[in-house]
C-alpha cells in the first residue's frame, strides 16, 4: 500500500507510568524463579500505572506533547483514533474523552480501535489514508495500554502500561511514511472475552505460528514491495511482547542488534501492548537524524502485523526537546514498588474488600 500524496509524522510523544516492578518481586510471591524468568524474557522491570492512570490519561499526555512538538493547535485536529485493548469503558469511546481533554473542536471524527497489540498502528494507517485522500489535514493516532496479566500467569511478568501519540499530516513533516502494508490471518493466540478481567493465551502457540509468522511475513512483504534490504535501514522497530521475540525475529530476517536497540524498550518497561511499537518508534525518532530510514512492524494477536517504511526529514533537528521529554528521560524517572503495592494499584486487592 503506497500513499498517493505525501503523508507523515508532524509530531510525536510518549508517556510511560513511573512505577516499576521486577520479575523477581513477582516470582517471589508465586514461588517461581522470577529472576531467571526475567532473564529468559529479557525483562528487567515492567511499568505499572498508578491508580489514577489509564489509557485516557496516557493518551492525553502523549497527544498534548505531540501537538506541542507539531505546533498544531487542538482546534485544527480533525480526527482522533485511540488504539488499545484496555479502554476504560467497554462501551463509550476513549477517543472522545481524549478529544475533550485536548480541547479539540467538535468538528472531528473519532473512534477507538482494538486489535490486541497492533491497534495503535491500525490508527496510524487510518490517519494516513484520511490525510492522503484529502479528507483531513491533521489527525492524531494513539496506541496506549494498561495491559492486564492474571495473578501468577506468565503474562504478569510482562504486561505493562504506556503509550505514544502521533500527529499525522502532510506538511512540516518530521518523518515521511513512504510505504505501509499489512498481513492478517485468523489466529487465536491471545484473547479476552466480553466480561473477562484477564486475557488468556495459547502459551507456546503465541510464538512461531503467531508472532513470528506475522512479523516475518509482513516485514518481508514490505521489503519485497519496496525492493529494499534489511541493511538499507538505519533502524528497525518490531513489536516487543518481551525482549527475546523481537531480537530473534530481527536476527532471522537479517537485522542487526544495533538497528533495533534504540527502539527496544521492553527490557526496562515491559510489554506496553498497543503502546509498544508507537513508543519504540518514538524512542528511535529521538535518536534519528535527517535522512535516516526506519522500518517498523507491529504485531497484534488474533492476528496481524502492519509494516511501515519511514524516512526522517531535516525537520527532526528542530524538534522541541526542551518542553517535551524524550522517551529515555521518561523511562529514567521511575520508582520501584513491591508486589503488594502493585496488587493495590492494579486492583488485585481493594481496601474494604469491595
Amino acid at each position: 500500500m503506497k500513499t498517493k500524496e505525501e503523508v507523515g509524522i508532524k509530531g510525536y510523544a510518549g508517556y510511560v507510568p513511573r512505577y516499576r516492578i521486577t520479575p523477581k518481586e513477582i516470582g517471589d510471591v508465586w514461588g517461581k524463579d522470577g529472576e531467571s524468568m526475567g532473564k529468559g524474557l529479557r525483562i528487567e522491570s515492567k511499568s505499572v500505572p498508578s491508580p489514577d492512570e489509564d489509557v485516557v490519561t496516557i493518551s492525553t499526555q502523549s497527544a498534548k506533547w505531540a501537538m506541542q512538538r507539531a505546533d498544531v493547535d487542538s482546534q485544527d485536529i480533525e480526527a482522533i483514533y485511540v488504539g488499545s485493548e484496555s479502554h476504560p469503558y467497554a462501551v463509550k469511546p476513549t477517543a472522545t474523552i481524549v478529544a475533550a481533554s485536548l480541547a479539540a473542536s467538535p468538528d472531528l471524527t473519532a473512534a477507538d480501535y482494538e486489535f490486541a497489540c497492533k491497534a495503535g498502528t491500525a490508527a496510524f494507517q487510518t490517519c494516513m489514508g484520511m490525510v492522503a485522500s484529502g479528507m483531513i489535514d491533521n489527525g492524531i493516532a494513539i496506541g496506549a495500554d494498561t495491559s492486564q496479566g492474571a495473578p501468577g500467569d506468565a503474562l504478569e511478568y510482562s504486561a505493562a502500561a504506556g503509550g505514544a501519540a502521533y500527529i499525522i499530516g502532510s506538511d512540516d513533516l518530521l518523518a515521511k511514511f513512504r510505504h505501509t502494508c499489512s498481513y492478517t490471518t485468523d489466529t487465536p493466540d491471545f484473547w479476552r472475552r466480553e466480561g473477562e478481567k484477564y486475557p488468556q493465551h495459547g502459551g507456546r502457540f503465541t510464538g512461531k505460528p503467531a508472532y513470528f509468522k506475522h512479523v516475518t511475513n509482513c516485514t518481508n512483504k514490505l521489503l519485497d514491495e519496496t525492493g529494499r534490504e534489511p541493511e538499507d535501514y538505519d533502524y528497525a522497530v518490531f513489536h516487543q511482547p518481551n525482549g527475546k521475540f523481537p531480537m530473534k525475529a530481527a536476527k532471522r530476517m537479517g537485522f542487526s542488534k544495533e538497528q533495533i536497540e534504540p527502539g527496544l524498550l521492553v527490557p526496562k518497561i515491559g510489554n506496553t501492548y498497543s503502546g509498544a511499537v508507537p513508543l519504540g518508534l518514538a524512542a528511535t525518532l529521538d535518536h534519528a537524524e535527517p535522512g535516516d530510514e526506519i522500518l517498523v512492524t507491529s504485531y497484534g494477536s488474533g492476528a496481524g502485523s502492519d509494516s511501515f517504511d519511514i524516512e526522517v526529514t531535516e525537520n527532526i533537528v528542530k524538534i522541541d526537546d526542551e518542553n517535551v521529554p524524550r522517551i529515555e528521560e521518561i523511562i529514567a524517572d521511575n520508582e520501584f514498588i513491591s508486589y503488594s503495592v502493585y496488587a493495590k494499584y492494579r486492583e488485585k486487592i481493594s481496601e474494604g474488600g469491595a
Binding site: 524463579d33 531467571s36 495459547g202 502459551g203 507456546r204 502457540f205 512461531k208 505460528p209
Partner: protein, 387 residues
C-alpha cells in the same frame, strides 16, 4: 500361532505441529507406512490406533474409524487401543495377535496424539490422569512428583546421582541430533541439564520428556507372506505384557517396575533370547530416571547399576547396548499415545540398516519397551532382522 512381520513403517515429524490436526497426523503416518509396504490401502483388513487421550486433548472420541474414514479406507474394521502412555505399544501387540492368530492378514497399527491444542498446564493434568485419580492425583501427586519420588528413592537406595540422570538426557539428545524427525534434534550438556529449572526435585526440566504432537504407523502381515510385498520386512519375534499396582504407594519396591520385569521375562521366554542377545532397545524414558530403571528391569544391567552404566557410556550408540537411538521420548518427543509405534518405526529402520548417522552396527535384535502411567502396565516387543 503364525509368525508376524512388519512390512512397512511411517512416521510424522514429532513436535509442535500447529498446522496439523489429529486426523491429519494419523493419516500421514498411515499413508507413509502403506506406501513403504507398497500397498494401496484396499488390502487392509483391520486398523488399530494407539491413542491416549483424544477425548480430553481434542474433545474427540471414536478416533479409529475417523482416521480410517479420512484416510480413504472407511469400512475397514478399526479399533482404538488405550493404555495410557503404553497405548501405542499395546496397539502393536493387538495387531500382532490379530495376524498371529490367523484372523487377519494385513493389519495397520497406527499411533497418533495431538497434545498442543490444550495449554501446557492442561496437558500436564491430562498426563497425570494416568495416575490413580482417587489415591494419587486427588492428593496433589502429579506425574512429575511421583517420578521424582521414585528418583529420590533410587538415589537413596542405589546411590544414583543427578549426574547420572543428566547423562540420560545428554545421550538421548546426542542421538536425536541425528534424527530428522526429532522434536529436539540438538545436543545438550550435563551442566545445562543439571541447571535447568526445577520441576520436582530431583527432576529438572531437562529430565522430563516434552509435550508433543506426532504419529507413527506400521503394516503387519504373516511372516510367510512378507517377501511378496515391496517393503523390507522385519520380524516381530515375541511380545510380553506385564502389570503392577496402579498407585505407586502400593508397590513393594518403587525402584523396580514389576510390569517391565514381567513383560521382559515373557518376551525373552517366548523368543528364547536373553538380554545379552539384544543389540539395541527403545525404552520408555518419559523421565531420565525411567530409562535408568528400564535398563535395569529389562536385564541389561544389574539393579542399581543403570546409573553408573549410563555414566560410563555403556548405553551410548554402538557401545555395550545402544539405548534410545532415536532420541527417545526425551528428545525425539512424546506424542504420548503414539510412542510405542515411534519406537517400532525406529527399530525397523535400525534392523533394515537405514538409520544413517545413528545406525547401530549390524544389529540382529531390537527391543521395544513402552509403559503406561507410572508403570502399572508395560509392553515389550522383540524384533529381529529379516533372514
Amino acid at each position: 500361532m503364525r509368525d508376524v512381520a512388519i512390512i512397512g513403517v511411517g512416521e510424522t515429524q514429532i513436535g509442535e505441529l500447529w498446522n496439523k490436526s489429529l486426523r491429519e497426523i494419523g493419516i500421514e503416518a498411515g499413508l507413509k507406512a502403506l506406501k513403504d509396504a507398497g500397498l494401496e490401502g484396499d488390502e487392509v483388513e483391520k486398523l488399530y490406533v494407539g491413542n491416549m487421550s483424544a477425548g480430553k486433548l481434542i474433545d474427540q472420541e471414536h478416533i479409529a474409524p475417523l482416521i480410517a474414514d479420512y484416510a480413504g479406507i472407511s469400512g475397514v474394521p478399526s479399533t482404538r487401543i488405550e493404555s495410557g502412555s503404553a497405548s501405542g505399544g499395546m496397539a502393536l501387540a493387538e495387531g500382532y495377535k490379530a495376524v498371529a492368530s490367523g484372523m487377519e492378514d494385513i493389519v495397520v497399527v497406527g499411533g497418533a496424539e495431538k497434545m498442543t491444542d490444550v495449554g501446557e498446564q492442561e496437558a500436564k493434568e491430562i498426563l497425570s490422569s494416568t495416575n490413580d485419580q482417587e489415591w494419587e492425583t486427588v492428593f496433589g501427586a502429579t506425574f512429575e512428583s511421583l517420578y521424582a519420588m521414585i528418583a529420590r528413592y533410587h538415589m537413596e537406595k542405589y546411590g544414583t546421582t543427578k549426574d547420572q540422570l543428566a547423562q540420560v538426557a545428554v545421550k538421548n539428545h546426542a542421538n536425536a541430533a541425528k534424527n530428522p524427525n526429532a522434536q529436539y534434534p540438538r545436543e545438550t550438556t550435563k551442566d545445562f541439564v543439571k541447571n535447568a529449572p526445577m520441576v520436582a526435585d530431583p527432576l529438572g526440566m531437562f529430565d522430563c520428556a516434552p509435550i508433543s504432537d506426532g504419529g507413527a504407523a506400521v503394516v503387519l502381515c504373516p511372516a510367510e507372506q512378507a517377501e511378496s510385498f515391496e517393503g523390507d520386512p522385519v520380524e516381530i519375534v515375541s511380545i510380553g505384557q506385564g502389570g503392577d499396582y496402579m498407585a505407586v504407594h502400593e508397590r513393594k519396591d518403587i525402584c523396580t517396575m514389576k510390569s517391565t520385569k514381567h513383560a521382559a521375562k515373557k518376551a525373552y521366554q517366548r523368543s528364547k533370547l536373553d538380554p545379552e542377545d539384544i543389540d539395541f532397545a527403545e525404552v520408555h524414558d518419559n523421565y531420565t530416571i525411567t530409562e535408568i530403571m528400564a535398563i535395569e528391569d529389562l536385564g541389561f544391567f544389574e539393579k542399581g547399576q543403570g546409573g553408573p552404566a549410563t555414566e560410563k557410556g555403556k548405553t551410548e550408540l554402538n557401545s555395550e547396548i545402544s539405548i534410545n537411538t532415536s532420541g527417545g521420548l526425551k528428545a525425539k518427543g512424546r506424542p504420548v499415545g503414539a510412542v510405542g509405534l515411534n519406537q517400532a518405526v525406529e527399530a525397523v529402520i535400525q534392523l533394515r540398516g537405514e538409520a544413517g548417522e545413528r545406525q547401530v552396527d549390524d544389529p540382529e535384535y531390537g527391543l521395544l519397551h513402552n509403559i503406561g502411567g507410572t508403570g502399572a502396565s508395560a509392553i515389550v516387543h522383540i524384533l529381529r532382522r529379516w533372514s
